[in-house]
């Protein structure tokens, strides 16, 4: 089932004019911000397909920056997000691409500061719902129905077991899990969807595990 909640239909509460091109864009921006975990110094946003041709009219640019500023879809500050970002000395660039992506409403966001860099590709599928399809070059298949835990780790034996152990110990059931890596023995990314909400101490516990580099929460709502 694509749509599960009554609030997928009656909602989101949002700033107009388009659920896919405005609210969806805000959510993609917010997802990138949630994974990055802090306010970036620089953001480069690439629009593809229908986003590239109609972003001005739908205020997709304003909406996606609002998301990067961690605003919700209904936050009035979205309208002034470009000015707010400039006042915060955030360096923002928009790029339009004519590369054909699988879905017409696709955006790539690269966030950066002196501590690190994140690259995320999101798709706005309709009615404000989004899917995150790629993070730092790792392809992700999970749907964004629940918050996802992203564990970036060294690609070696025992890491998956120790991560799932932490969930088991805390009585959190894993509903869906995938592990992606670029090449054998390098960095890998675990994407985990759980049935229960994940308390902050569990995130810390995961972060303290050997071979785990970074743990972040990906929220799409």
């Amino acid at each position: 089932m694509k749509y599960q909640s009554v609030f997928d239909i009656i909602g989101p509460v949002m700033i107009g004019p388009s659920s896919s091109h405005t609210a969806g864009a805000t959510r993609i921006g917010k997802a990138a911000r949630s994974v990055f975990g802090r306010q970036p110094k620089k953001a480069v946003i690439t629009f593809y397909g229908s986003f590239a041709t109609t972003y001005k009219g739908h205020s997709t640019d304003v909406a996606i920056v609002g998301g990067i500023l961690d605003f919700d879809t209904y936050d009035n500050r979205i309208i002034d997000s470009l000015v707010i970002a400039r006042d915060l000395h955030m360096d923002i660039h928009f790029v339009t691409s004519d590369v054909v992506m699988q879905h017409p409403n696709t955006a790539k966001i690269v966030l950066e500061d002196e501590k690190g860099k994140l690259e995320l590709i999101g798709v706005s599928v309709g009615g404000g719902k989004i899917d995150i399809v790629e993070i730092d070059g790792f392809q992700i298949k999970a749907s964004g129905n629940a918050p996802l835990v992203l564990v970036s780790h060294e690609d070696r034996y025992g890491v998956i077991a120790s991560v799932s152990n932490v969930f088991g110990k805390n009585e959190i059931n894993i509903a869906y899990m995938e592990v992606a890596r670029k090449e054998k023995g390098s960095l890998a990314l675990m994407v985990i969807e759980t049935d229960q909400r994940i308390p902050y101490p569990v995130i810390q516990e995961l972060e303290d595990l050997a071979s785990v580099k970074r743990v972040s929460l990906l929220t799409t709502k």
Binding site: I9, I10, G11, G16, K56, G57, V125
Partner: protein, 295 residues
């Protein structure tokens, strides 16, 4: 999901002796593991946002960024106050509120997507007009939103709710069906009458194309929201009169899906065909975006 079709939804209401809204609330509680109070309050908040958008659109001078839309909600409100309209007051109330909401959306105001921002005016327009007529309580209105949501979920999961996927029938059509079912419940109709209203309303929206001028959620979207609200009220009245849809609601939804799949891409939110391809639309597009944007 406890129900995947209108038929299953109706069976649940019959077996458990409950309204559609009750079934929806219970399913949401189960799915999200949240309390009834939390869920109902979230919906109540959405209702308040809808009310705020209607009030703004009826009284303020709304204008979109492109300048294509704004001010018609206010015009209709003034026309209504003069009392010299041809159709009924509830219809004009619904239409004015639908236009008001839709114009606020186009002007980057705060709205609730129902089911999308393009079809934002249909449900609040019909709901608030009927609530006024019936002197319904806020709780009744919140329940009606759950009923609309249940219908929307069935449509979204068996067909589509986005213009890019299925044309305007998927947006204004779905919203109209949701609104018709919701106001029937609010008027004291049975769950079956609600779903018959869904069927009657949606049948009359089949084949509607998504051909917005310059790709903006403005022309013809705002006026289609008006017609959606009017259609929803007529379908609701027909169902309350005991009229049924000869083609069962689930089959109407399936037909909508097949029609959407056969619509050419030029009529699915690409602005390549239909109204978007008319000389006036092309001229407007050039004026708004400049030559760089002209496809």
């Amino acid at each position: 999901m406890k129900f995947h079709s209108v038929k299953e939804l109706l069976e649940l209401t019959k077996n458990e002796g409950k309204k559609i809204s009750d079934i929806m609330i219970e399913m949401e509680m189960e799915q999200s593991e949240r309390s009834r109070e939390e869920i109902v309050n979230q919906m109540r908040n959405s209702l308040h946002v809808m009310k705020g958008a209607i009030e703004r659109g009826l009284t303020e001078d709304i204008r979109s960024r492109s300048g294509l839309t704004g001010g018609d909600g206010k015009k209709l409100n003034q026309y209504l106050e003069k009392g010299q309209y041809l159709s009924g007051s509830t219809i004009i109330e619904a239409v004015s509120k639908a236009v008001a909401t839709s114009e606020v959306n186009a002007a980057m105001g705060t709205i609730v997507a129902t089911p999308t921002a393009g079809s934002v005016g249909v449900l609040p327009g019909s709901l608030f007009a009927v609530a006024e007529k019936l002197e319904a309580s806020e709780d009744d209105m919140v329940n009606a939103l759950f009923t609309a949501g249940a219908i929307g979920l069935v449509i979204a999961n068996n067909a589509f709710i986005s213009g890019a996927a299925g044309g305007c029938q998927a947006e204004i059509g779905s919203a109209t069906a949701m609104a018709a079912a919701a106001v029937v419940e609010m008027a004291g109709g049975t769950p079956t009458q609600s779903t018959e209203a869904l069927g009657i309303a949606l049948k009359n929206m089949l084949g509607l194309t998504c051909d917005p001028v310059a790709g903006l959620v403005e022309v013809p979207c705002v006026k289609r929201n008006a017609m959606g609200a009017a259609n929803a009220l007529i379908a609701a009245d027909m169902a309350l009169a005991g009229i049924t849809s000869v083609i069962p609601p689930d089959e109407v939804i399936e037909a909508m899906y097949h029609i959407g799949c056969s619509l050419p891409i030029s009529l699915k939110e690409t602005s390549l065909g239909g109204l978007a391809a008319t000389p006036t639309a092309k001229e407007l597009e050039l004026k708004i975006f400049g030559p760089k944007w002209n496809k």
